[in-house]
């Protein structure tokens, strides 16, 4: 079973909750544990928050969310068309932040890494950033019962 969902929404802080709840709803076929749902919600929230705060400096823009569910795995892409990241390795270091004055903890990418199985970040300065994440689910998917 393969299922692909795409959506695009405004890069505003109210949509951080929308995005993580939407992705959590897609996990139902995996029969996930509460912990697994919380892991994915946290990772999605971090990536979307980065787009709102860093890619667009809280001045708005668009965020594209693409999810592919296949077998017992979810593949999530969160893309923005904002200012991009000059030094991805530095951006991903724990506690590194370009916006300490906004109470940013610098833990966003660390949380994505901790809660997902795979994390990949590609970016072009001035063009945008693509965050790709994957997580496998241990539980028996409902789809397996369908023959």
């Amino acid at each position: 079973m393969r299922n692909e969902i795409k959506m695009e929404f405004d890069a505003v802080s109210a949509n951080e909750a929308f995005a993580r709840v939407a992705v959590a709803a897609l996990l139902t076929p995996f029969n996930p544990t509460l912990e697994e749902v919380a892991d994915v919600k946290t990772a999605v929230s971090e990536a979307v928050t980065n787009a709102v705060i860093h890619a667009y400096d809280e001045e708005g823009g668009k965020v594209a969310l693409r999810c592919i569910l296949e077998d017992s795995k979810i593949h999530i892409e969160i893309e923005d068309y904002g200012k991009g990241i000059e030094n991805i390795r530095q951006a991903m270091e724990p506690l590194f932040t370009t916006k300490p004055e906004l109470d940013r903890s610098g833990m966003g990418f660390s949380f994505m890494e901790a809660f997902m199985d795979e994390l990949d970040v590609t970016s072009r300065p001035g063009e945008g950033t693509l965050v790709t994440m994957e997580k496998k689910f241990a539980g028996q998917p409902y789809a397996a019962e369908e023959e």
Partner: protein
Amino acid sequence: MSGNIMEERLQMIENYLMIRLPEEIDHHQAAKISKAADGYIMKEPVKHIVFDFEDTRFMDSSGVGLIVGRYKKIICFGGKVYAVNADERIRRIIGLSGLKNILNVIE
């Protein structure tokens, strides 16, 4: 959520600022809480801050930033930050973030 509803979540008990955190703490909510908390820190004799997670089921790194940011505002006067009623998930976030170094987690 209006400013008034957030205001109801904050109160002074002696020199402790008690903050009853919302169900979900993300960037959107953290911005409102920090604004309300900083209002108290400016106007009231806040020495310590207690973050009450009773209602909280979700927190991402914006919540970590919220706590660190408030801690920085009270540490110069010897203040401490406390967490109460944190469930297993919130404790995991606290552990992963290194917040344990500054945040006193109370059973």
